[in-house]
Amino acid sequence: MNVLLDVLLRAVVWLALAPLLPGIITKTKAWVAGRRGPPVLQLSYDLARLWRKGVVLSTLVSPGFVIGPAVAWVAVFGAALLLPLGALGTGLGFEGDVLLFVYLLALARFCTAWAAMETGSAFEGMGAAREVSYAVLSEAAIIAAVLALCVQSGSTSLVAMLTPAAGAGAVLLAAGLFVVLLAENCRVPFDDPNTHLELTMIHEVMVLDHSGPPLAVILHGASVKLLLFAVFLTEAVLPMGSLTPLAATGALAASVLVVTLATGMTESLLARFAFRRVPLLLTVGFLLCLFALLFAWRGGPA
């Protein structure tokens, strides 16, 4: 009973806090540009509005068009539940759960791409192709980062990996994971979440034909994914285990806020990269994580 309550509480925390992050990013951007900007809760209002709307389905689509976003949402949410929340530990963790974590994220991406292909539109196929070709490099970076944490802690469970302090490679890991965060969540140097210019859209292309509740599920899933990467980045770098529970929770919340603000500042200060330059930046992110792995491997025992 206690376990159930614990998991339920965690679920509420993840689901309720996630839509705040895109709101904070938009607010930061508006603040830098000297505008007032939409309220922080704007995404929640949008979700409520979309949830009440009907769904428009093309005559071509199979049930996969609706199942895809649903599965993707469940996969991201499941991955989020595996992550420990500061000192609270994790509700569902087990030895080797990091593999499940990586695969759940991959499953979510597959389902989003699949649902995009369901529309039978060449344009959405192109968006899916772009998304997946970026993912090849960013997934390599995630795997390198996860391996670095595994080698460093000598464990394959997320709780054991994320509680001790990162070793010598902490700076590299933080930079690499931040690049991954930007790429995975389609933020600015890689993709512009606000753009509706056909040639440059990536993620937006894939969700173009979704409407009503499925679109709400996709948007909410994206915000959970953003929160998930922010929490992962924070816990990978900060020594959560050496703080008192209260301090750890506070530090986690503060650093997630800092990561979110940093994302907003990046979006305000950087222009989108040209398509040709994106693999270069992703390679840098991958190599940063790889160097962190190298440090964990060579520098660890000393």
Partner: protein, 213 residues
């Protein structure tokens, strides 16, 4: 204490990557100057109590490598009206991969080297070797004179990092001499860049390989 030092060496290695991957001269110069500041702070972290000799070296390095030399480079870039794009001989992704391979090789090599026991676990030696390799790569793989100067600076940063192992044995005069040489070197480089620019209307060093009457 040692942990912070390792973090800084990690930063230096990350900046090596950034220097290899940056496509514009200002970002390359920024990476080099940040690296200089990181290197300058290192002597302060290497021992528990700060002595004036070490503090002086640190201060000179931070101002020299972090402020003066980058300012000279920026000035040379501005006065010579250089196009900011770096035209590489070796493409960005290949040079990144080569740099990563070099860093991995440096790690392995440093593990095999017969170092003093108190330095076997330290990341200074791999960091130094990786920076030297990165510097060579930039010297070989970029066509603009300023990018080559930056490569030379990263190469020298690697040598400096190696020199940190000997900070107690090496007298202050040697450090000061190296820094002075470096500053004069960059100064001369700036003048040469300006001359090349006036003579050829570009600082592409490829033009220097053909002889004219």
């Amino acid at each position: 204490m040692n942990h912070a030092l390792d973090l800084l060496i990690g930063l230096v290695m990350g900046l090596n990557l950034l220097a290899l991957g940056s496509g514009r001269l200002p970002s390359l110069i920024r990476a080099v100057s940040l690296q200089g500041v990181a290197l300058g702070v290192m002597p302060l972290l290497m021992e528990p109590e700060v002595r004036w000799h070490v503090a002086l070296v640190a201060l000179a390095t931070v101002t020299g490598k972090g402020l003066v030399i980058p300012a000279l480079l920026r000035r040379a870039m501005r006065t010579a009206n250089i196009d900011r794009e770096i035209l590489p001989f070796v493409g960005f992704v290949p040079s990144l991969l080569l740099g990563a391979g070099g860093t991995i090789a440096a790690m392995v090599l440093a593990h095999e080297l017969p170092l003093l026991p108190e330095q076997t676990g330290s990341l200074i030696v791999p960091g130094a070797l990786a920076s030297i390799f990165t510097g060579f790569l930039l010297l070989i793989g970029r066509s603009k004179a300023i990018a080559q100067v930056s490569g030379y600076l990263i190469l020298e940063n690697g040598i400096y990092l190696f020199g940190l192992l000997l900070i107690h044995a090496m007298p202050l005069m040697v450090e000061a001499g190296i820094l002075l040489d470096l500053t004069v070197g960059v100064f001369i480089f700036g003048i040469i860049v300006d001359r090349i620019q006036r003579e050829f209307d570009s600082i592409d060093t490829r033009k220097l390989t053909t002889l004219r009457e």
